[in-house]
Subunit: 385 residues, 2 copies
C-alpha cells in the first residue's frame, strides 16, 4: 500500500476572533463594517467598493476545517491576514501581538490530530505563523520578545510579515537584530503584500479589485524581496528562510533584468557577494500562481540559482527544473478568492492543484513534495520518531 501523501496548505489566513473584534471597533480602514445585515471587510487603501463580504470562514476554525476536508487538505499552516498590526501604536501592537500569538497557538494546539506519514509522528491539522509588533517606534526588545514567544510556542512554526517594517521597509538596518534572532530560532518568515503600489497606476476605469490584487500585490512582494537582496540581508544572514507569497510575484521573471541592472549601475555594482539570481535560490516560494507554466518557470529560476554563486561557472551545466521544485509549496489563499457561484470545490484551489499536476518536467515525486512534503520538511513536521 502506498504511503499516504499529505496535502499541506501553507498560504491560508485567519482573522482570529480577537482581531476581528478589533477591526469591528474601528471607523477607518482597516475595518469591518455592517451593510444591509452583511459584514464587510475593508482592508485595502482606496478600495473602490465597500470591501468584500465576510463571515465565519474568516474566523471560525470549524469553517477552515470544512474547507480543508472538502479539498483534501490534511494540514494548514495558518497566518493572520493583512494588514496585521500595521495600523496600531507600538503599545497597542505589542500587547495584541502577544495575545494573538497565544490565541493562534491555542487555535492550533487544540485542532484535531491526524496520523502522519508512515514512520512519522502524529500531526495536528493546524500549525501557525505568529506575528511581530512590527510598527514604527517599537523597541527592538519588543520585537525580540515576540520572536522568543513564537519560537517557544510549539505549534507556531514561523511568522508572517508585511513590507513596512518600522516604517522604512524591510531593508532597514535597524532590523538586523530581528533577522539575527529569527535566523537563530530557525523560524520561517512568510512575506506577504498588502499595500500594492500607488493607486494612481490603476487609472479611472472601474476594474473592481483586479488591478491591486493581480498586479499590486505581486509588485509589492517583488519590491520588498529586491530591496532585501540589494541591502545585503542574504549575505549577512545566509541561513534566513524567507517564504514569498504568490510565487514571488514578478521577481522570478525580472531576476535576470535585475542582475543586469545591478551590473550596469556604478552605485551598486560591487555591493553584493553574488549575482542577484543567486539569492533567489535561498527563497521559498508558494505555488499560488494558478498556472503550470508559471510554476515550472519559477522552479527553473530556483534551480539555476546555484550557477550564479560567485565563482561558479555560469552555463557550464544546466540544472533541471525539478531541482528547484523542492523550495515550492502548495497554498490556497483561503478564505480569499471564493467562487462567485456556489460550487463543491473552490475554483482557485482546483486551479492551483491542477497547475502543480501539469508542470512539464516535474516527476510525481516532485509534485507530491510541492503538495506537502516540502512543507513538512520546511516546518520540521516530518521528524522520524
Amino acid at each position: 500500500m502506498a504511503t499516504k501523501k499529505f496535502l499541506v496548505d501553507i498560504h491560508t489566513h485567519v482573522y482570529l476572533p480577537r482581531y476581528a473584534s478589533l477591526l469591528r471597533s474601528r471607523s477607518s480602514v482597516p475595518k469591518i463594517i455592517s451593510l444591509n445585515n452583511q459584514e464587510r471587510l475593508v482592508i485595502l487603501p482606496n478600495e473602490s467598493t465597500a470591501g468584500r463580504p465576510v463571515g465565519p470562514q474568516y474566523w471560525d476554525r470549524d469553517e477552515k476545517l470544512k474547507f480543508m476536508d472538502r479539498h483534501g487538505i490534511d494540514v494548514s499552516i495558518v497566518s493572520t491576514a493583512n494588514p496585521w498590526l500595521d495600523f496600531l501604536t507600538p503599545t497597542e501592537a505589542q500587547k495584541i501581538a502577544l495575545e494573538l500569538n497565544d490565541d493562534l497557538e491555542q487555535y492550533c494546539s487544540t485542532s484535531p490530530v491526524i496520523t502522519g506519514p508512515e514512520n512519522s509522528k502524529a500531526l495536528k491539522r493546524m500549525y501557525g505563523f505568529g506575528l511581530l509588533p512590527l510598527v514604527p517606534e517599537i523597541t527592538t526588545r519588543s520585537l525580540l520578545d515576540a520572536v522568543k514567544q513564537i519560537s517557544e510556542s510549539p505549534h507556531l512554526k514561523g511568522l508572517i510579515m508585511g513590507t513596512r517594517g518600522l516604517g522604512k521597509g524591510l531593508d532597514d538596518e535597524a532590523l538586523d537584530p530581528v533577522w539575527d534572532a529569527i535566523e537563530a530560532a530557525e523560524l520561517v518568515v512568510f512575506l506577504h503584500p498588502h499595500y500594492g503600489v500607488d493607486s494612481s497606476a490603476w487609472g479611472e476605469r472601474d476594474n473592481g479589485h483586479v488591478l491591486p490584487l493581480a498586479l499590486g500585490f505581486p509588485f509589492e512582494t517583488t519590491t520588498v524581496a529586491t530591496r532585501l537582496i540589494l541591502s545585503g540581508v542574504f549575505d549577512r544572514f545566509p541561513r534566513l528562510r524567507l517564504l514569498l507569497a504568490h510565487s514571488g510575484g514578478a521577481l522570478p521573471q525580472l531576476s535576470s533584468r535585475l542582475a543586469s541592472c545591478i551590473d550596469h549601475d556604478p552605485v551598486v555594482a560591487s555591493r553584493l557577494k553574488h549575482d542577484a539570481r543567486f539569492y533567489l535560490g535561498k527563497l521559498f516560494l508558494d505555488a499560488v500562481a494558478y498556472g503550470s507554466e508559471e510554476l515550472g518557470f519559477v522552479s527553473d529560476v530556483l534551480a539555476r540559482a546555484r550557477h550564479y554563486e560567485k565563482g561558479a561557472r555560469y552555463g557550464s551545466s544546466t540544472t533541471p527544473r525539478s531541482a528547484g521544485s523542492d523550495r515550492m509549496l502548495f497554498g490556497t489563499d483561503h478564505p480569499f478568492f471564493p467562487p462567485l457561484n456556489s460550487t463543491e470545490k473552490w475554483r482557485s484551489v482546483v486551479e492551483n492543484l491542477e497547475a502543480i499536476d501539469k508542470v512539464q518536467g516535474w516527476s510525481s515525486v516532485d509534485k507530491d513534495a510541492v503538495r506537502g512534503g516540502n512543507a513538512l520538511s520546511l516546518f520540521n513536521l516530518d521528524m522520524k520518531q
Copy 2:
C-alpha cells in the same frame, strides 16, 4: 551555401538632433544638462543622481552603425526614447511630432543599403518607429494626421508610444479612433515604459537607478497591457499589433493570476470575450530579458494562449513553447546599458544573444527567427521580390 541569417534589433533608441536640442533648451526634467564638460541626460522623475552621461551614441547615426557593426546587427528598427513628447503642449507636440517623423524617415532612408536574405528585396540598415503627439487635449484629428504621416513614410514601420495617452492612460475610450486607424494602417505599436511607479516604493536606501529600471519599468508595462486587456481593446481591435518592451515586463508571470482575479471579481468577470491569457497570444514581445529561462517561459505563455480562447478546451493538448517564439524579437535597448568598463562588445547585448541561444526547447530555426526573421515578417521587410 547557407542563406545569410539576419540579426535585427527592434529595441534601439535615438535622440534625434532636433529632440536633443529641445532637451538642452529645458530647465526642468526631461532635460540635457552640462556638468563638468560632460552632457548628462535626466529623464526619470525623482532621479537620485544627475541622470546619466550622454554623448554621440545618443544622436549620431554613425555611432549607431558602429555599434551595429560591432555586434553583428544587420538592421535596426530605431525609436525615439522616453519620454517622447509627453511634456509638451498640444501645439508644440503636434508640430515637433511631424518634424521628428520626417527627421526619422530621413535618418532611415539615407542609411546604408544591404542585400537582404536570398530572394528578398534589398534592405536599409535602419527603419523606424514614428511618434504621435499623444498629450492631453490634443485633437483626434492631430493624432490621425500623424498616423497617416507615419503610414505614408516608407521607412517608418510603426510607432512608439508611452503609457499616458491623453492623460488617462491607454484604456481611455477616446483613443478608439486612434487604435482603429493604427489597425487599418497595419502599423506596429511599440509600447514602452517611462514613469515606473511612485518612487516611494523604492525606500530611502541609495540603490542608484536599479529599482526604477529593473522593477519600475516592467511594472509600468505590465500595468498598461493589463489595463488594455481589461478595457476590451483587444476584443474591439483584434488585428492590432502591439509590441511590448522588456518581454512584457511581469505580465507573462502574472497572467494566470490575472485570469483568476478576473474570474473572481463580480465587476469584471463577464466583461471580456476570452480568458485573460488568450490576449497575451495577440502580443509581440521583445527578447530583452537577459536570461534564457525567462525567454523560454515567455514563449510558453504565448504558445498556450490559444487554449484560452473562449470555447477552446483548456488542457486538451499542450502546445510546445517553440510555437510561441514566433512573436518574440531580439533587441538591445541601445544606447542604454553601456558597459561600465570599456569592452569590445556590450555585455547587455551579449547576454541577450546568449539567452536566445540557450533557450531549452527552441530549435535553431526558432532562434534564427527570434534573432531576425520574426522582425522581417512583422515589419514587412521580407517580401519576396
